[in-house]
């Protein structure tokens, strides 16, 4: 079947979703797409009286998206899927529902480089070492 296509930008996203909620539409699914070059696309599919509307928005790798569970409480699992498969940051979503941490598989549906959990541990330990070094130099500077 044919769907009604709507495109929007990230600042207008909240108001458009609120309008769909006021019309009484039902959220079917949230799809994530990897467009390459660090850009992602989110599509919100709504259903109202035998018609389907696709609401598309383009985001960057580092943007944090607001959760829609305030209006649609059943979107929790859908947002956990986005976090597990793509690594998109969503406010308040639970991670590691479908994939096990430490199994070596991380964000499998991304096309570009995959961030492995070992590299994240190295980054965390490197971040811990840096304030220690700064503390030591400041102590040396003070003394």
């Amino acid at each position: 079947m044919q769907a009604i296509e709507l495109k929007t930008t990230l600042p207008d996203l909240d108001s458009k979703i609120y309008k769909m909620f006021q019309l009484g539409a039902r959220l079917i699914a949230i799809t994530g797409n990897d467009l390459g070059n660090g850009k992602f696309e989110l599509i919100y599919h709504f259903s109202k009286a035998s018609e389907i509307t696709n609401l598309k928005v383009e985001i960057d790798e580092n943007t944090t998206v607001e959760s829609v569970t305030g209006l649609f409480p059943y979107a929790e699992l859908m947002e956990s899927e986005l976090v597990d498969y793509f690594g998109i940051k969503v406010n308040g979503a639970k991670a590691n529902v479908f994939l096990e941490p430490g199994s070596g598989i991380c964000t499998p549906l991304r096309k570009s480089k995959k961030t492995e959990p070992e590299k994240k541990e190295e980054k965390a330990s490197a971040a811990q070492e840096k304030p220690e070094k700064e503390g030591a130099t400041s102590k040396g500077g003070a003394s």
Binding site: M1, H45, Y74, F98, L99, P108
Partner: protein, 365 residues
Amino acid sequence: MAASTRVSVVPLGAQHPVLPEPVALKLSLEEEKVVDVSITVGYCHRGIEKAAEMNDFKQNVFLCGRVCGICSHHHTTSYSDAIETMMKIEVPERAKLIRTIVAELERLHSHTLILGLTADAMGYENLFMQTWRDREIVMDLFEIISGNRVHYDINQIGGVRRDIGYDVVKKIEKGMDLLEERFNILAKSYLDDPTFKKRTKGVGVLSSAEAHTYGVVGPVARGSDIPEDVRASGDENYAAYKDLHFTPQVEEDGDIYSRTKVRVREVFQSIDLIRQAIGYLRDGPIAARVQGNPNGEAIARVEAPRGELFYYAKGNNTKNLERVKIRTPSFVNIPALKYMIIGEEFSAVPVIIASIDPCLSCTDR
């Protein structure tokens, strides 16, 4: 003086004899009444959406049919529908009618399965065995039509793979007469039995406003006074439903008894739809020619036995698809289980789980 109450946590763990598939529940009990539930899914994840990007778009039909064993034909129908919309292929009439007949037979198979499991969850083993014996009529018909009892693989892009001859049509008609006669006797045990009513009326209630807030689909929504059914939505390309007479079955109360009544009525409705579809069969081709590669985006949705099944596909002019997204009906029905269990007694929990028809292989994919 207020009596102090203690809360004990009981796991209805990942493996349990009443569950058809693994899901982990943690129930917080206060003297036999449930006060809190936490649900964990993810025990059956197999990475199907990633595997669908490594295959040909024609080989994906077999992969999508193995997401679930009970609603396998609806997955392949929905996937083929999405690709046919994307590539603008016209499916011939006879193929659409064969897809409808197999889909309604699958609905019979699935509803008799879950009605039997509901009876088994409350200890009524005799009714469970008799319902599953009558389900064998439908499984034998599938072996004759498609070559296998589950995972029929009868769809391909552009039509169907096998034709049903005149002798097979006669066997389907005889099977439907036999099933209707036996189910008339079984329906009395499901709907008129006083013990069954006592355990199911007023238990596991989901009111109409709650059903709208939590977005449930399928017989769970139709048992709570929401008349939504994809078969009645007027979609021109969805098999042959535009030619058949059909109204959704709706009940008001929202408890386990209403959902069981919706499913029993849908069994009789499916037998009627199969007889109508057989009357419309005429000679003709069973598949259209497929040329080229898929390009663009498309969506499709069908009415699986458990609710609304939704597919989204995106192609980029090569043999492999770029993205396949599947949203199954149990994905929204299982989180709504929390609001049906809170406030009920501990012994009613297995029957409530069996009444929403949970399919965990569909949820986790």
